[in-house]
């Protein structure tokens, strides 16, 4: 897999770089002024790979970074690696049709990020996600209705209860009154009074019956309302569970944030503790925090699953399913969804086969004088020279376990037995002498701190020596240049020895800053030598680390507002270098000399690069003949093979250009090369800058044979081959013939009218194509 392009958003000074393609030949250089954001690009790529973000990588508005990388791949690469059964058929179909696949690392907060599939596949996932989201929203909507219904039903029940209570009370009052009347009837014996009381009793009895009836009605209603409420309550129970899970998730998230906060605090203090003991204690706390974070994340994962199930249960219950069946169906559905890779899971799987991104940094990558054995055993990446030391040990074939030997004496003996020496031969890459025949030896020994270092007294460390035929010196006693080159060499060797099948992307910040100009060019040579095995992206200010013949390797980085270090970082690809400022492009200018755009031969636009002087003369004459109205400036290269260099020069100077190639084999090759290198085989892009007249082997073939004989070679003989072939077969000087022809056109001895139909048609067609590509 090859990294083909990247896009960085919200990373330090970068707002959004947009996708930028890397050079197809595996070497990409980021050029730009200090503080332009070059290193940020490397760090963002590294962060894409290891997911680690440090606070200063965040933008001031605290928007979270998103880094996407696009990789070219063979379908088999992915299919052979992942579990095919877990690949959604739609995703599988899509993967099999694309040539690149992009992965995005999105930070959820400054401590946590997740990988997801890029735009090519994300759409399918988004669609599924949208559907789920819609269903969830529907459930939430139904829940709202349910709550409303419950509230209404409760209210109604209360009302009925109150009414029933009131009726009961009333009934009781009537009953008491009835009893009293009955008693009075028995008490008063006068007929009239009795009659009066009886009538009163009748009325009360009537009332009693009515109230009894009303009460029975109320009680029935009460029963109904209770039933409704009970039914609603069943659903409400599911809802309560859902809410419990939601609360659980919120709690876990809160706890996670707290631990992350704690870890953040600990990380800020790293390296600032007064004693090693405190540092160690902090590291243990750090480890505990990390474990907690992982645990919380796992728990959150489980809770989210439960939440999903509960939401589905509700959905099914609302659809009329019984709770028991709904639970079964929901579990089944969640399991079925989990059967296929989610976007994150697939991204995590593919991530495992992506190239390894390694950052070659001065601090940890330069070979130190010594390194504590403890740092090696504990893999303390913060230790000075850790990376270089590990590289060295990898090359010598020593594993970590070798140093886990508890007895220092035995270990020392083992090292002595190994002779503790590594010979490196730089002669293929390094033109400066560092030792006899460019060979140096690196020794390593195991020693122990003595009383002069009380804190570490008695602790073992590995000491390195660089030895040539003259002397034996500590690495730091050698020049920084030699040390850099040596460490870089170690890194390359160690990377090459890495047995994992993963490809490598080496990120190098300002390589060889301390090297002599010629040595810097050696570094470029090394890059070229290893580019098949390792993809390299480096930042530089140095003109010696820019190959002017390969400007397609360049990405220019600068601030949106020059000199304003608060403005955002912009990235320009090789094709748009003309938009970059002169300061940004200074390494290119330094390599090329004066600024070409300030002279009169080449204009800022409509420059047409052509193969050679003869072509230049012919075309100038043809343009004059046709009365072409646009201004164009033909720039002759010194042969087809020089066209790419001309392209690089003009590109480097930010000058607009068009490349005109004819169909002969040399120019065809150049056309294909440029098509691939400059335009990444994107025909639309290439067609804006390249005019390829493949039907005409050369300029002179635009003439009919008759006109060619009459006005160019001035012979009367049968010509049965292409005009260009005729010139070669008969050893004519194209340049002289073309120059003479131009002279005749200038003198008006030849005019467009005197040419025959065939020539006129050819010239008109050519001019039309040229006109379309020029401004």
């Amino acid at each position: 897999m090859q990294l083909v392009s990247f896009r960085i958003q919200n990373f330090r000074s970068i707002v959004d770089t947009g996708y930028h393609a890397l050079a197809h030949d595996n070497i990409t250089s980021l050029i730009g002024q200090n503080e332009s954001g070059k290193t940020s690009i490397l760090e963002a790529l590294k962060a894409f790979h290891d997911g680690r973000l440090i606070e200063d990588m965040l933008r001031s508005d605290l928007s979270l970074p998103v880094v996407s990388c696009k990789f070219s791949f063979a379908f088999a690469d992915i299919e052979n690696y992942i579990n095919k059964r877990r690949l959604n058929p739609e995703i599988r179909k899509l993967i099999s049709t694309v040539e690149t696949v992009s992965l995005t690392r999105r930070w959820i907060d400054d401590m946590d990020s997740q990988m997801e599939m890029g735009d090519e596949l994300q759409e399918v996932y988004n669609e599924t996600y949208d559907q789920l989201r819609k269903r969830e929203l529907k459930v939430m909507e139904n829940l709202e209705h349910l709550n409303r219904d419950i509230a209404t039903a409760s209210k109604k029940l209360n009302k009925v209860n109150e009414e029933a209570e009131w009726t009961t009370e009333k009934l009781e009052t009537v009953r008491l009154r009835m009893n009293e009347i009955k008693r009075n009837i028995r008490k008063f014996i006068t007929r009239d009074r009795k009659e009066e009381l009886r009538k009163e009793l009748e009325l009360e009895e009537e009332m009693f019956l009515k109230l009894k009836e009303t009460l029975e009605l109320k009680l029935t209603k009460q029963e109904e309302k209770r039933d409704i409420l009970e039914a609603l309550d069943e659903k409400s129970e599911v809802n309560r569970k859902l809410m419990e899970i939601q609360e659980g998730i919120a709690e876990k998230k809160e706890a996670l944030v707290l631990v992350q906060e704690q870890l953040r605090h600990l990380l800020q203090l790293t390296g600032m503790y007064p004693s090693e003991r405190e540092q160690r204690a902090a590291e243990i706390k750090e480890e505990i925090c990390r474990t907690d974070i992982e645990r919380f994340k796992d728990e959150l994962y489980v809770l989210n699953d439960q939440l999903r199930i509960q939401l589905l249960v509700l959905e099914f219950v609302f659809e009329g399913m019984s709770i028991e069946n709904a639970v079964k169906a929901a579990r089944k559905e969640v399991e079925a969804v989990k059967e296929f890779y989610s976007s994150n899971e697939l991204a995590e799987e593919i991530f495992k086969i992506l190239p390894d991104f390694e950052m070659f940094e001065d601090f940890s990558s330069l070979l130190p004088n010594r390194i504590d054995l403890e740092d090696i055993v504990r893999a303390n990446k913060h230790a000075e020279g850790y990376k270089a030391a590990i590289n060295f040990l990898t090359i010598t074939g020593l594993e970590y376990s070798f140093f886990q030997q508890p007895s220092s004496r035995i270990l020392k003996q083992k090292i002595e037995n190994l002779n503790g020496e590594l010979t490196l031969n730089f002669q293929d890459f390094w033109r400066q002498n560092v030792g006899k025949n460019n060979k140096i030896k690196i020794n390593f020994e195991l020693s122990h701190y003595d009383h002069t270092n009380p804190e570490k007294s008695g602790k073992p460390f590995i000491e390195f020596w660089i030895k040539d035929e003259k002397e034996r010196l500590y690495p730091k006693q050698r020049s920084r240049g030699v040390r850099w080159f040596l460490s870089f060499f170690l890194e390359l060797k160690a990377t090459a020895m890495d047995k994992s099948r993963r490809d490598k992307v080496l990120l190098i910040d300002e390589p060889a800053v301390s090297l002599h100009a010629r040595a810097q060019e050696d570094v470029l040579m090394v890059f070229d030598d290893i580019k098949e095995q390792i993809q390299i992206i480096y930042t530089t200010h140095s003109p010696h680390l820019v190959d002017v013949n390969k400007l397609y390797r360049i990405l220019a980085v600068q601030r949106a507002i020059e000199d304003d270090m608060k403005s955002e970082t912009l990235v320009y690809s090789a094709q748009s270098l003309k938009s970059a400022t002169a300061d940004t492009l200074s390494p290119i200018y330094s390599t090329m000399g004066a600024r070409l755009s300030q002279q009169e031969i080449i204009k800022s636009f409509n420059n047409v690069i052509v193969k050679d002087l003869a072509t230049f003369y012919f075309l100038k004459a043809m343009v004059a003949l046709t009365g072409f109205e646009k201004e164009c400036y033909f720039l002759p290269a010194s042969g087809a093979e020089s066209i790419p260099m001309m392209v690089n020069i003009l590109m480097g100077w930010g000058i607009d250009y068009v490349i005109l190639n004819f169909g002969n084999s040399e120019e065809r090759l150049v056309h294909e090369k440029l098509m691939k290198e400059q335009y990444d085989n994107k025909i639309d892009l290439a067609n804006k800058q390249m005019l390829f007249l493949e039907d005409y082997p050369d300029t002179e073939d635009l003439f009919s044979t008759i006109d060619f004989k009459k006005y160019v070679v001035k012979v009367r003989e049968g010509i049965t081959v292409k005009n260009s072939e005729y010139l070669i077969d008969n050893n004519y000087s194209r340049a002289i013939l073309a120059s003479n022809f131009l002279q005749e056109v200038t003198d008006e001895s030849v005019s467009f009218k005197t040419l025959d139909d065939e020539t006129r048609d050819n010239l008109n067609s050519f001019i039309q194509q040229l006109s379309a590509i020029l401004k």
Binding site: D695, S704, T705, I706, K709, K710, V715, R716, E717, G718, I719, T720, D756, D757, E758, D761
Partner: protein
């Protein structure tokens, strides 16, 4: 004497075999029927082999037909005609625009190169006259270029002559210039005739004069409403009548095509 007879027999056998080869390089009758539908070829060589030849081929959406007349007749003419057919085949295999003038231009280059003609005085001056058409059936467009030989076009008994450029396919006294590319829009039923000068130049009749172009035109107008086969028979009959017992002075070729 016996020797001379033997030699003659041998020569005749050789010529007959040569004529067999020449016929073999001419387009196949069925192939032409397939392409042209209605046409006739009236070809009467003066000798066993002929300096006149006809050509018919398809290139992309176009049909190319030609009637050629090589300088001389008999064996030298036949050799030239075979060369002409081969070159035409070669030219039609080259990529490029299909134009009648371009075909004649390229043919001239090949003839000049083959015969090493550079405009010097004592060099070989052989050449061929030719009427060449490029027909595009879909649009009915007909391109015509003539090297000394014209084209007759008859529509509703009205004959139009498309004149040829006054130069041969081969070296000429004046410097080569491009042949003219005439373009005609044909209608169904239109007939075009291309031919060598053999028919009009044939001596005969009561005063033993050339047949000439005027009578040929009249004859063609007169027979233009007949079927192509009837036209061929009529041309044959008229010529036989005209020639009578006179000696045939040159190869005769008339190629008529009715466009549908």
């Amino acid at each position: 004497m016996e020797n001379l007879l033997d030699q003659r027999r041998e020569l005749m056998a050789s010529l007959k075999y040569a004529s067999f080869i020449q016929r073999a390089v001419l387009p196949d009758q069925k192939y032409m029927e397939n392409l042209l539908k209605e046409f006739f070829i009236f070809h009467r060589p003066r000798d066993i082999v002929s300096g006149d030849f006809y050509y018919c081929s398809r290139k992309e959406d176009y049909i190319v037909v030609a009637a050629g007349d090589c300088t001389g007749h008999g064996v030298p003419g036949a050799l030239m005609s075979i060369m002409g057919i081969s070159f035409l085949n070669e030219i039609l295999s080259i990529r490029g625009p299909i134009r009648s003038s371009r075909i004649l231009n390229l043919l001239r280059e090949r003839v000049m190169k083959a015969l090493h003609q550079r405009g010097y005085e004592l060099e070989n001056k052989d050449a061929m006259d030719m009427a060449l058409c490029v027909f595009h059936p879909r649009s009915g467009e007909l391109q015509f270029s003539g090297a000394n030989n014209p084209l007759y076009h008859i529509r509703n008994k009205v004959l139009t002559e498309i004149k040829a450029d006054k130069m041969p396919v081969g070296i000429d006294a004046i410097e080569e210039s491009s042949f003219t590319n005439h373009v005609l829009q044909l209608k169904p039923g239109d007939i075009v005739y291309i031919f060598s000068d053999g028919y009009p130049d044939q001596f005969g009749g009561p005063e033993n004069k050339k047949f000439k172009y005027g009578p040929l035109r009249e004859l063609l107008i007169r027979i233009s409403d007949k079927t192509m086969e009837e036209q061929r028979k009529e041309l044959d009959r008229v010529m036989s009548e005209w020639k009578g017992d006179e000696f045939q002075v040159d190869d005769i070729l008339i190629f008529g095509i009715r466009f549908l």
